[in-house]
């Protein structure tokens, strides 16, 4: 990637440095962003990343950016952002700390940058170690002749004792126990009637016969009619009791009539 200055031992170091710097600049596209570039620059310090001089690194970076600018190399915005920030960091590191200033100190910022570099470097090493591992299909292999595992879908059926007893009850209620069965189809409950009538009484203005409140389909079948009438009657008593309607009957066995009770009727 870059010219390695070390292969020419006899060349003066300054020249080697210069070559390296030029190589860096020419390869600017080869960097994955400012952090990658900083990591590469930090290598030239030839020390443990934990002992790196962030100040020196900032200077190296700023120098790099300036040289790149002189060479009229287009630098992506993030390189310039990093340059600005490193210039700021450099001033913080050089100036004595201002006790009135908010925010992290220059040392804290430098320490974090060093941590970032160390972490990136560590992850790269880890990536290299990972890729150097024995790999499936390269160093070790799966069964070449796998056998088909046939999938069999088996359905099991289950039932509970309650199911069983209910089923039996169901079959037996068809005949001899039929008389004991309440035919729910033909039964209207008080609750059903109440709910229905509550919704309807508002619409009937004056006295209306209770029969007209029978739901549709319940007037013809005698059993249904009986049940619905009884339920409606009970419901109307209930509604009268809570003061929502009034009931009247002209004489014994005459039609029962109901009407909505006026709201403010004292």
């Amino acid at each position: 990637m870059m010219a390695d200055a070390d292969f020419e031992e006899d060349t003066p170091l300054s020249v080697g440095d210069r070559l390296a710097a030029e190589a860096l600049i020419i390869d600017v596209d080869g960097y994955e962003g400012p952090l990658d570039l900083l990591l590469t620059l930090s290598r030239t310090q030839k020390v443990d990343l934990r002992k790196i001089s962030v100040l020196a690194l900032a200077e190296q970076y700023l120098k790099f950016i300036n040289e790149a600018k002189d060479l009229r190399i287009e630098l992506a915005a993030d390189y310039l952002v990093m340059a600005a920030w490193l210039a700021f960091l450099k001033s913080r590191l050089l100036l004595p700390p201002d006790p009135n200033e908010e925010g992290p100190s220059g040392e804290e910022l430098a320490a974090h940058l060093a941590f970032q570099l160390e972490r990136l470097s560590a992850m790269r090493e880890a990536a290299a170690k990972l890729m150097a591992r024995d790999q499936l299909g390269r160093n070790f292999f799966v069964r070449g002749l796998p056998e088909d595992v046939t999938r069999i879908r088996r359905v099991t059926y289950t039932a509970s004792l309650l199911d069983l007893m209910q089923a039996y009850a169901r079959t037996r209620t068809k005949d001899e126990f039929r008389p004991f069965v309440m035919d729910r189809d033909a039964v209207m409950t008080l609750e059903q009637a109440l709910e229905r009538m509550r919704g309807l009484i508002g619409y009937a203005g004056d006295w209306t016969g209770l029969e007209s409140y029978l739901p549709e389909g319940w007037e013809t079948d005698p059993a249904k009619r009986r049940s619905a009438t009884a339920a409606n009657f009970a419901a109307s008593l209930e509604l009268a009791k809570i003061g929502q309607i009034e009931i009247r009957q002209g004489e014994v066995f005459a039609p029962i009539q109901i009407r909505k009770k006026a709201r403010n009727d004292g």
């Binding site: 292999f141 002749l145 004792l161 089923a167 039996y168 009850a169 209620t173 126990f177 004991f180």
Partner: protein, 223 residues
Amino acid sequence: MMAENTPNTENAEIGESLFEAPPMGEQERMVEAILFATTEPVTVKEMSERMPHGCDPAEAIVTLRKRYEGRGVNLVRVGDAWAIRTAADLGFLMQKETVETRKLSRAAIETLAIIAYHQPVTRAEIEEIRGVSVSRGTVDQLLEMEWIRFGRRRMTPGRPVTFVVTAEFLDHFGLENARDLPGLKELRSAGLLESRPPPGAMPGMPEADEEDPSVSQSEMFEE
């Protein structure tokens, strides 16, 4: 080529002098790995082409085959090649069963209930009680589940078979005995007899009962 496979020929010393063949244990490992990873049976020739100089895969196969004797997989010869195959008696493992649990159909549970309460009971009697014909599939299903089995034949004309419930049935429903099933009175007091009316009005006896018209009601419902 052949010389490498048969070290005892006059050419053997060429191979042996230049390369030390790996020990037989190593060769066995190699054959094992090759047979495992290759997508088709491998001939001895192919093996020796892939193995280091001086190896004798044929000999390795002999010992490796012994090693796999009686194991879950065996070394088998396929034509003039070799392969690793599942032991024949373990073929059943190459099936993956997925079990789905479903509720018994209404017809099945009713039929089962009638058999449990009236056993031994004939198909015609079941049909008479249910009021509809009992499909062959329903009975087969219950037989297959081993919840019912054939009982003794009824000593009536046509000698129809009867059905009874099995020990598996009792086990599943946690019953010691079919007589432990709650009687009609208890069902009624539990509210189970007042559940749901049949869709039609009072049904007469069904159309279905051609099998065994001889059984009398009295016989059927005595307890």
